[in-house]
Point group: C2
Chain length 370, copies 2
């Protein structure tokens, strides 16, 4: 199963002709999962190889415009481009994000008389009281959704922090478990971890043949982890005939933050194959970055190190940092300097550092254990 991550917007604060506003797509088995949806995301999607009709899950890290303002328009356009006479019923688009997201979307769709050809549901995460400065919390009147659903809206869940694991469990299916965890920013902000389940190793077919077993239902039961009693009376334990399990991949995308909050994030991101972390400003501007609830490459590197990530990808750059090809010799604010700073902080750790650019795709390969 292929899996890759495509950056549709890597700029902070607002979209520009050089960098779109925040939006990242995780593609797996033909589904697209969208992380944040700044203004212009639908146009960036059209310019990419991805298909917006494949979006099944949307994760909004926090309610700042540069992560959110593209969402109503994206849903409209996905709907406009669907075939209204399609036979199969449209699947529900699940949207996860902080409290207030449900009302934002509902008001935007209602006031523009938008009808969608598919249902959607907004699942809201309850922030904790220490997740941002007091002035960053929205009052209950502002976030209240008053209960009257949009015609295509299905009731969403309200998800509270699971205190024991210090995270929010968003969904779990046969393939993945998806969690959110708390970040510290100017408003409640979240990171997301997508953990693929481990899968059983291949059957040692040579060995099975030696034991006199031919391919058939027995193979399936062993592969599924069941013990099997042979005709000889011998009990065959699956670990004896299976190669090592193939570890599931883990991709973590963090919203704006000056730090993680609690242990949940470190745990949820532990040994991530790819950790996507913001680096709005360079290390020299660390004080200003923290003041605004943002990070520098050195700060992002420290997070990658704390959770033993394999690869750190930086994004959400101040618009002053032009993409590499567009940066002129001698100009200040070279985005490559941001990579150098993270690399320096991670020297000797084996953690790889990449800079995201709009339309960069990072494949995430399965690694079979030797």
């Amino acid at each position: 199963m292929t899996m890759d991550l495509t950056f549709l917007g890597t700029g902070s604060a607002y979209p520009s002709p050089h960098r779109g506003a925040s939006a990242v797509v995780l593609r797996t088995e033909g589904e697209c999962w969208l992380f944040d949806c700044g203004e212009g995301t639908q146009t960036q999607l059209m310019k990419s190889q991805l298909r917006s009709s494949r979006i099944t899950n949307v994760f909004i890290s926090h309610l700042h415009g540069d992560h959110l303002f593209g969402l109503p328009g994206l849903l409209c356009t996905v709907s406009l481009n669907l075939n209204p006479s399609a036979v199969q019923p449209a699947t529900c688009v699940n949207i996860y994000g902080p409290q207030g997201l449900r009302r934002f979307l509902r008001v935007a769709l209602q006031l523009t008389s938008t009808q969608l050809l598919f249902p959607y549901a907004v699942h809201e995460l309850e922030p904790t009281a220490d997740q941002c400065p007091p002035e960053g919390f929205l009052s209950p009147e502002v976030t209240a959704d008053n209960g009257s659903l949009h015609p295509q809206e299905l009731p969403g869940r309200t998800i509270a922090l699971d205190v024991s694991s210090d995270c929010y469990v968003l969904m779990e299916d046969k393939r993945f478990v998806v969690k959110a965890f708390r970040l510290f920013h100017r408003v409640p902000s979240f990171g997301f971890s997508v953990q693929e389940h481990d899968r059983p190793g291949r059957l040692k077919t040579e060995l099975l043949k030696e034991l006199g077993l031919t391919p058939g239902p027995l193979y399936g039961r062993l592969k599924a982890g069941e013990s099997v009693t042979l005709e000889t009376g011998k009990v065959l334990n699956p670990v004896e005939v299976l190669e090592k399990a193939i570890p599931g991949r883990k991709v973590c995308v963090l919203g704006d933050c000056s730090s993680l909050l609690g242990e949940g994030g470190i745990r949820a991101c532990h040994r991530a194959n790819v950790l996507v972390h913001e680096a709005t400003l360079s290390d020299e501007h660390r004080e200003k970055a923290v003041d605004h609830g943002h990070s520098t490459p050195g700060m992002a590197a420290a997070v990658a190190l704390a959770c033993s990530a394999q690869r750190l990808v930086l994004y959400h750059f101040s618009q002053r940092y032009k993409p590499t090809g567009q940066h002129k010799e001698g100009e200040e604010d070279d985005v490559l300097e941001l990579r150098r700073q993270a690399e320096e902080a991670l020297q000797g750790t084996g953690i790889e550092v990449s800079l995201a650019e709009d339309f960069l795709t990072i494949p995430i390969a399965l690694v079979r254990p030797r």
Copy 2:
């Protein structure tokens, strides 16, 4: 005083890499007046020669996403790029549009914790009951703004139709009078007319000198239209010493529509220098266009003719029509065909037809009468 019109988005339904969503800027004396603000308008502005900080008035024709979804982000970005320590106080941005606009903007700004460095006011136009099909009206609960202003919001007016003139008077100052008028679309939609006041003709200085008058305060009084009594006792009437008045320019921008409603639009657009009218689909698709509340080139031409416009500019093209340079030989849906259809309908009338494209600028010259 120079005046020009720049198209930032000429596509219908949604923005695409070929055509932005609806947005047109009228520039005059360093001010920018924005007509509609689809998603991505701020990025289109950055690509243009215009400066978003100069936006003083915004006119939203109707509450469809492709005319509206760029507005919250645009205001955020204008504010972010202002100098917070600027000495002069920021001027209020006046925003005009249909009922419901105030709540849309307020909810979007509130939920994203947006603070602006300038005040804004939303002035809402009350639609009439015949302005769209019954299902196109928003319920009062959806449009109600509940009265609690955003911290940077100044109270806006609610403007009812002036029945005698069949139009809405939005503003009038020394230079302009701006009116809105009713259109028929799927939801309440409006057109806007910007009428520059006529200005007095030049003084006939040769004649004044012959009369023994030298430049001074007297000249100013004559130019301002005052009669003046000379030392000889003769009363000098300004018309005797002024060239013909220079007629003010008129620019009209219409929102989505399948027709005008009432006589107000024809009157407000009478002898417009430039009439900007949608042409979503070609004449062959007239029935479909009307079904969706839209127009074809032939329908737009009929409006231009009815109001004796000097120039008709078509915009809001279905995204199937690629810009001229990007259209491939032999491909159907040639946008030039839309111009041909309008030209054919206007043959012999002297009305000029233009196709808008993103970033096209049309200068609107003062015409001195001979």
